[in-house]
Subunit: 338 residues, 2 copies
DNA sequence: GCATAGGCGGAAAAGGTTTTCCGACCAAAG
DNA sequence: CTTTGGTCGGAAAACCTTTTCCGCCTATGC
């Protein structure tokens, strides 16, 4: 072990004073040179830049925040543990924030109000510039708190207060896309199998399907079948459906998990998909949809876009241009083979 | 609009000076009272606490960080966009960090070295106390950078430098658990169907399976079938397997997606599961495993535990107790019906 | 040659907390 | 009564950058 390796001290980060010393100017001048402020000769700026480069200097975000009051940081509070829905939303948020050179703190409230308050407090202590609340269900949620010193945007699950800024998916529009596709591919006796009636998304999609069918002068074949968001329910419901409405030729499902179960159920009852029955799901969960037989046509709710919009709206609000109200993101159909 | 509502200014956060004024002491004393430092009369502490409560004071993390040099913040760099594997890992990390009152910055490098360097730089500018690198594949990855001023822990994908601190799953042990289960339930002609040979996890699990079988005086029925991590491959491979080794009575799969395909493939070839063929997957991806027919017995790699361990090790390293080397987390079998 | 203006860069304050040092006061001991 | 020691709380520095003045020097105009 040579002395040099043994004594290799963790070299302290270069500060603005070090740069100033190397460039032979004062700290204030360094700041001005590097940030393009004040009036300095170009030669001086260049000398400072060279010194900064040599030392690998970059300013401490902490010190800068203390003075400016801004941290270039936002908090993301997810109610579930980064599940199926909050993940694409978060990715979108990060996308949007990234271009604004902001970073995101991740907090998982696990649907526990206590934990949520705790996280909120911590975020405020950290002086985040804004907060995004990402839900896992579309049901509206109670606002975080009123009279917050920073802007808040609700993503996916909107706030019950219509004055809050929320970004949500177009649930009825999604159902419409599915129905339109089924009708345009010649289906006329279309049923709906979905999740629990207690979920707003199940109710909205069912209502949207009925609406869209009505516009075509059609109506749903049988009542919507509410159940659970599982494959097992899908298989069960498919069998039940065939018993009550045997001449079905299209099924729209409330999500892809259910759709997958329905596909298996129909196929195993001897029906050919997509020849005899057309099937459309919701969510565009790729691993699932692609492995279905046949690969599942489904509506993509545009979760990532929701995240991006939420990020954009938050950035705008931080810059003093809030856009209160509920913003709707439209999904699109992903046509596979079903 | 009353004057009071119109003029309701966003009340400035209370600072330590406000508390000091209210309690009739100096700012330094407030700090000592609230943090249990210095020597103060209990009466004074109580008075300060009361004032702080009244004003809802809590200290600015930014100011505190500036002085202490610690931010109580770590960065998490994921190589993929929060996929199937990094999510449970992250949840574990957050669990571990939470008890230490630390928060996590989330960065998605998308497997792009440029982006990774960029995130690293930003994290360092923010003076994070440590960094966790969460991979999405078990293949070892090149270290983040050498000579970093903060500790780094690699989770799931270990660093190629054995001196780095990495937390990984016990791939061979996972295979052993699967094989032991199959053998103990009476299977003797056991095959292996898995993902691409280019993936370390596929290779390791195959090797582990062979090892474990050898200890029982058995060997793999046929060569391991390497393919893709998809259901389609699983279905295809199942059919192929039955052609080459028709009297199979057990299959161990490299992951649950493949296992699900294999289950469907075998069942549709007329085999009864679990009566005629026992099936064990890997990953314990609940939505998939529970919906399989029959519900899939599978090895849980303990991803969340990996995250927790990584968090714990990082906290220890930050506290000056680094534990270099590769740390192995053992999985466990989740017995369902297959 | 002197005054004025403008260009350039320095000095210092500010931001909010923690911590060290120091001083003041009180009580007890000599 | 004086000294000593201990208890409590205040003053000020430190953390690192940004920004606002302010002053100096030079050049130009009279």
């Amino acid at each position: 072990m040579t002395d040099s390796t043994a004594s290799r001290a963790m070299t302290r980060r270069a500060g603005i004073a070090d740069v100033a010393a190397l460039a032979g100017v004062s700290p204030g001048t360094v700041s001005k040179a590097l940030n393009g402020r004040g009036s300095l000769r170009e030669e001086t700026r260049a000398r400072v830049r060279a010194a900064a480069d040599e030392l690998g200097f970059s300013p401490s975000t902490v010190a800068r925040s203390l003075l400016s009051g801004r941290t270039f940081t936002v908090g993301i509070i997810t109610t579930d543990s980064y599940g199926r829905f909050s993940i694409p939303v978060m990715r979108g948020v990060e996308d949007s924030l990234g271009v604004g050179e902001m970073d995101a703190f991740l907090c998982d409230s696990r649907d526990d109000p206590i934990r949520e308050r705790h996280h909120l407090r911590k975020l405020l202590d950290r002086q985040v510039d804004g907060i995004i609340v990402a839900g896992r269900r579309t049901d509206a949620r109670r606002p975080l708190s009123d009279d917050l010193p920073v802007p808040v945007v609700y993503a996916f699950a909107r706030s019950t207060d219509p004055q809050d800024c929320s970004v949500v998916s177009d649930e009825r529009g999604a159902a419409r896309l599915a129905i339109e596709h089924l009708v345009k591919t010649g289906r006329r006796r279309i049923a709906h199998i979905t999740g629990p009636q207690s979920h707003a998304s199940a109710r909205e999609r069912a209502a949207g399907a009925a609406e869209a069918l009505a516009e075509f002068g059609l109506e749903l074949a049988g009542d919507p079948l509410f159940g659970g968001w599982t494959e097992v329910w899908g298989r069960f419901a498919a069998a039940q459906l065939l018993r009550s409405v045997p001449d079905i030729d299209g099924v729209f499902c409330g999500n892809d998990v259910v759709a997958r179960g329905v596909a298996d159920g129909l196929r195993e009852s001897g029906l050919n998909l997509p020849e005899q029955v057309g099937l459309v799901g919701t969510d565009n969960w790729a691993v699932l949809a692609e492995a279905a037989r046949p690969p599942l046509t489904t509506v993509d709710l545009g979760l990532e876009e929701i995240g991006r919009r939420a990020g954009d709206l938050l950035l705008a609000a931080i810059d003093g241009n809030p856009a209160p109200g509920t913003h709707v993101v439209h999904g699109h159909l992903v046509v596979r083979e079903s």
